[in-house]
């Protein structure tokens, strides 16, 4: 692989209707590599592709092509071609005419067009289909026409926007191999967009994991799988047990009440961290030999291995093992130090810490009214005079999503949801700040929910003095 970037994105920002779609994207795409933009829907991967293709201008930031800035260059002037999500074949043209479309626009001689189209149709295995109407082709064939149509123009970079999404599983697997073959054969740079992590790991030289308009991690499939940069990446790529941990000191971490040896350092002492352990990395032992002990609650045979659910206290772990223990049995578990991945927490503090002003109170009542983001809420924590600024420390379980749809704060954005074995760790974003919430319920990422506060769990301390309040 060459180590020369062909396309570079610098500080790309995009907003639609005030919503951030891309947030400071920096990316170098190397010449002749197969790079995949991977992420859940709405993460900004297609938008990134459209910026490279020239179909969308970023609000700010630069796009470079072989070192030259190409912002504002229309798609037809870029030596980049695209394979669209639903192929976008021209229904009024047949297979040959579709593939020849770009070459005709370049006003090439007829014989050359014919030679190139024929050769390209051979590469994508569609010899003899020249005269067919594209609407009569199967999904896989249409797919290959779309690839041929884009590649015949001899672009340096081929963009592929979830090109296999409409195909069934078997065909998708075949096409994955086919695409990789074509890429190797034509020696082009492929930029591939997908939300299917398996597809990304199978085909790519490098994977770019995106979420909420940001790049979470860039790396080879092996890096991404084995060394996820954070809980989101770990959760998104493959299956993982993501747990809360406490970094006691360098090389020593506490998980599920037991101390483990690990290979990480530099997190400080007694620092809360996220722990990732892949299901196949947990070794099943007798209860006596295990570092932790749990009860098997379910076993499913998966062909190559057994998938076991093991309960440790309130927390459920997922284990892939070639030997099974029957449900109801007690087992011990061990993890070798280099299989424990330690990451910084996604949320900077273990609690929600914020300040709020008392806007109404009465001396004979322990209930005061405080203002949070313009909403007046009641807080039962004793009397504070009007005007007092309160510092509130609310634990993650002091927040809950209102089932009736009427929250105290409405339209709060769900930024990430990660299953922590016993509960979901949900990060939310309201108008002014982010919140962390623990919930047994699952919430949909990138949607809006109403949230409520349970202040009985909060620690409240007044910030300003009595005199300050009197002056108001």
């Amino acid at each position: 692989m060459e180590q020369k970037p062909i396309v570079s994105l610098r500080n790309i920002n995009v907003k639609f209707d005030g919503e951030v779609i891309l947030n400071n994207i920096d990316l170098d795409i190397m010449d002749k590599e197969f790079i995949t933009l991977l992420g859940p829907s709405g993460c900004g991967k297609t938008t990134t592709l459209r910026i490279i293709g020239g179909f969308l201008e970023p609000d700010s930031g630069d796009v470079f092509y072989e070192g030259k800035r190409i912002n504002g260059t229309p798609p037809n002037k870029r030596n980049i071609n695209t394979v669209f999500q639903k192929y976008a074949l021209f229904p009024h043209l047949n297979v040959y005419e579709n593939v020849a479309f770009g070459l005709k626009l370049k006003k090439l001689p007829k014989e050359e067009i014919k030679a190139r189209v024929t050769k390209m149709l051979a590469i994508v295995d569609l010899k003899g289909y020249e005269k067919r109407a594209v609407s009569k082709l199967s999904g896989g064939q249409q797919q290959r026409v779309a690839i041929a149509r884009a590649l015949v123009c001899d672009p340096d970079v081929l963009l592929l926007d979830e090109p296999l999404g409409a195909l069934d599983l078997k065909l998708r697997k075949d096409m994955q191999i086919e695409l990789k073959r074509i890429q190797k054969m034509t020696r082009k740079t492929f930029v591939y967009v997908t939300h299917d992590q398996e597809e990304a790991l199978t085909m790519s030289d490098r994977v770019v994991v995106m979420n909420n308009g940001k790049i979470e991690q860039i790396g080879t499939p092996i890096d991404i799988y084995n060394e996820p940069a954070n809980a989101f990446v770990a959760d998104f790529i493959g299956e993982a047990n993501i747990l809360d941990g406490l970094m006691l000191k360098d090389y020593r971490v506490r998980i599920l009440g037991s101390d483990f040896k690990c290979v990480d350092k530099g997190f400080g002492e007694n620092t809360p961290v996220d722990i990732v352990i892949r299901p196949e990395d947990i070794e099943v032992t007798s209860p006596e030999e295990g570092t932790v002990v749990g009860d098997v609650t379910g076993v499913v045979f998966k062909g190559v291995h057994y998938e076991m659910e093991v309960k440790v206290g309130k927390c459920t772990l997922l284990i892939h093992s070639t030997v099974s223990s029957p449900a109801g049995s007690r087992i011990g578990m061990r993890v070798s130090p280099d299989n424990i991945h330690i990451m910084n927490k996604l949320f900077p503090t273990p609690y929600n810490e914020f300040t709020a002003e008392v806007v109404d109170s009465a001396e004979d009542s322990p209930v005061v009214t405080i203002s949070v983001e313009g909403k007046e809420l009641e807080l039962e924590n004793g009397y504070y005079p009007k005007g007092t600024i309160l510092s509130i420390q609310l634990p993650p379980d002091g927040l809950y999503v209102d089932g009736e749809g009427v929250g105290q704060l409405t339209d709060v954005f769900v930024e990430s949801v990660i299953w922590k074995g016993a509960h979901n760790e949900i990060i939310l974003e309201s108008d002014e700040r982010k919140w962390i919430m623990h919930s047994a319920q699952d919430e949909q990422v990138a949607t809006y929910v109403p949230i409520c506060f349970d202040f009985s769990k909060a620690v409240v301390t007044p910030v300003n003095t009595q005199e300050d309040a009197d002056e108001n």
């Binding site: 037809n76 695209t82 021209f90 626009l105």
Partner: protein, 621 residues
């Protein structure tokens, strides 16, 4: 189960009967060898006459031209508009789409009125008259929303990425549109074009307000209602129906083929249709352009009653064509169906020749709307018999030259009527209860009543009108119906016993039913004259005088007289007529009888309105 199926079939049959029976009747009548609704043999005559009728063919040409141009322009405009709207997002798009749909639900009468007001207003500032351009603009205006409505769904169905894919492969935005997007929109564009074409073709209401002197087919047919719809129109309607039916079948068959064959044919068919439409536009434009160019000399605007001039049928002279040929000029021929309609149009339009009735001439003279004639340019005026000169509506004969005249008489069915018919008394005869027809027209109905009361119908007062209305109310229980045109069918098909009507028309009815006879009321009756005049705002008065002179040629008069059926004031013409007609007392009553008759005079507007109002009150409940 089977029973149910039969019931279904019967029901579907009933629906089709209901939908297609009227058209079947129309087609049948287009082959009827009689003008009335009585079947009297099979003929192709009406089809032949249809193509010989200058007025209808001109109107048809005009209509097709406007329809093709309006459809073409609104198709382009509507397609571009739907593209624009499609690229708007959310609320903005909704607002604009709703706004563009409002013209469709807006009552046509409101659209028509407002367009007329706008054009008249602009016309005053920019000095133009309503006509071809204003009509075309209005048609483009009301057709465009339909195009938007038919193109927008195609845009929505289209894969959004097609446009981008074309650009990706090297197209500029414009190339992408013409090489890819337009193929996807083509079915919508074509159907938008066809919808616009048909809407424009048969629009009457909006055209009526905005066409000025430019005659279209629906307006032409409407003006024919004055007398009766000629079976030529049945023939024309049949042709139109068959053509549209054929187009429908062809589109459906090609549509079915499209589905059967590959999709690539789709675009090619569309292309063919588009080429066809374009060829049609160019052809029609060329034809009209040619006809305009070849007659660029002088133009005469004639505004006449419907069916009030010989047009080449039944061996008559095509008077207009003859005049055009003789003087190498172009005649714009327009028709109206009542004096009042003509009066209204005269306020905004300029005509060179009008042919109003007596009282209306008096009114126009009083309002200084007519040009005094230069009789040196009308030497044939000497052909007019003296008794038709210096009539009370134009005492010094400065403004008008009589064209036709006649009287109101009674028509009765010998086998049905009770008692002897000698005068208008018969219309009040209890014995004929339920079989009496009466004028559905205030002036003529009230005149008969006033005559019976011994009042002077020529110049009624409000008190006279009140009394006459009382008498009409007394008569009402005996009256079968108040009619104008329907009189033909009712009398010719033995449906009614007696009716007052215009002499020339009674003569015609008697021709179609041997049981009919006429009576000149012994007490006298209304004597009416239609005369040729030149309005003050005429653009070409010299040519108009030439036309009047031409109309007074004896042979021209004979053709007109034979075609119209009313009496001619031209003594040279009368001398050339068949003895049978010349001596017919119904058409040409004796001078003694005419002395007993009266003419209407110019009724002041307030009296006229009072008449209208009171008559409606007396003739309805």
């Amino acid at each position: 189960m089977k029973k149910l199926f039969l019931g279904k079939k019967f029901y579907i049959g009933l629906i089709f009967l209901f939908l297609y029976a009227p058209i079947a009747v129309l087609i049948a009548y287009s082959f009827n060898d009689s003008k009335s609704s009585v079947w009297s043999g099979f003929t192709f005559d009406w089809y032949i006459k249809l193509f010989q009728d200058q007025a209808i063919m001109t109107a048809l040409g005009n209509t097709l031209l406007v329809a093709v141009l309006a459809a073409a322009f609104s198709t382009i405009l509507g397609t571009v508009a739907s593209l624009g709207m499609y690229n708007f997002k959310g609320a903005k798009r909704k607002i604009i789409q709703t706004l563009s749909n409002i013209p469709i639900i807006n009552p046509e009468i409101v659209t028509g009125m407002s367009l007329m007001l706008l054009f008249v207003f602009l016309g005053q500032i920019l000095h133009f008259e309503n006509g071809f351009v204003t009509l075309l603009l209005s048609h483009i205006g009301f057709c465009t929303p339909y195009v938007i409505l038919s193109v927008t769904p195609k845009l929505r169905q289209m894969d959004n990425h097609l446009f981008e894919a074309a650009q990706d492969l090297g197209c500029t935005q414009l190339q992408a549109f013409f090489q890819v997007v337009i193929h996807e929109l083509l079915p919508g564009i074509v159907s938008g074009f066809l919808i616009s074409f048909t809407y424009s073709l048969d629009d009457f209401i909006i055209s009526f307000f905005t066409s000025g002197k430019f005659q279209t087919l629906p307006i032409e047919i409407y003006t024919m209602l004055k007398k009766r719809v000629s079976p030529k129109i049945n023939a024309l309607s049949t042709i139109l129906f068959v053509v549209i039916f054929a187009v429908l079948i062809i589109t459906n068959i090609s549509g079915a083929n499209k589905n059967k064959n590959t999709k690539e044919n789709n675009g090619k068919n569309g292309k063919k249709m588009l080429c066809l439409a374009l060829a049609l536009i160019i052809l029609l434009g060329g034809l009209v352009g040619y006809s305009r160019c070849s007659n660029q000399t002088q133009v005469l605007n004639v505004f006449n009653w419907g069916e009030n001039i010989a047009n080449g049928e039944d061996g008559t002279l095509d008077v207009i064509a003859e005049f055009e040929k003789k003087y190498n000029v172009k005649v714009n021929y327009n028709e109206y169906e009542s004096n009042e309609e003509m009066y209204a149009k005269l306020q905004n339009e300029s005509y060179d020749i009008i042919i109003p009735s007596d009282y209306m001439i008096g009114k126009l003279i009083a309002e200084d709307m007519l040009l005094p004639l230069d009789f040196d340019n009308i030497p044939n005026y000497k052909n007019i018999a003296d008794e038709y000169k210096n009539l009370p509506y134009d005492p010094n004969n400065e403004y008008s030259v009589p064209y036709t005249w006649g009287v109101v008489a009674l028509c009765y069915n010998e086998n049905m009527v009770e008692g002897e018919v000698t005068g208008f008394d018969a219309l009040w005869n209890e014995a004929n209860k339920g079989q009496i027809l009466m004028f559905n027209n205030s002036r003529d109905a009230l005149a008969i009543a006033m005559q019976r009361l011994g009042l002077d119908p020529s110049n009624p007062t409000k008190a006279d009108i009140d009394k006459a209305c009382e008498l009409l109310k007394e008569q009402k229980p005996l009256v079968q119906n108040y009619v104008m045109d329907q009189v033909y069918d009712l009398m010719e098909c033995d449906q009614s016993a007696i009716a007052p009507y215009y002499a020339g028309d009674i003569y015609y009815m008697m021709d179609n039913n041997d049981s009919l006879n006429y009576c000149l009321p012994e007490e006298g009756t209304n004597f009416f004259v239609d005369a040729m005049c030149i309005p003050k705002n005429a653009e070409n008065p010299e040519l108009a005088e030439l036309f009047i002179n031409f109309m007074l040629e004896p042979e021209v008069g004979v053709s007109n007289s034979e075609y119209i059926g009313y009496a001619s004031p031209n003594k040279e013409t009368v001398a050339l007529l068949d003895e049978e007609i010349r001596n017919n007392q119904l058409i040409y009553p004796s001078k003694e009888y005419l002395d007993k008759c009266y003419m209407y005079s110019n009724t002041p507007a307030d009296i006229y309105n009072y008449m209208q109002e009171k008559f409606i009150e007396a003739s309805t409940n």
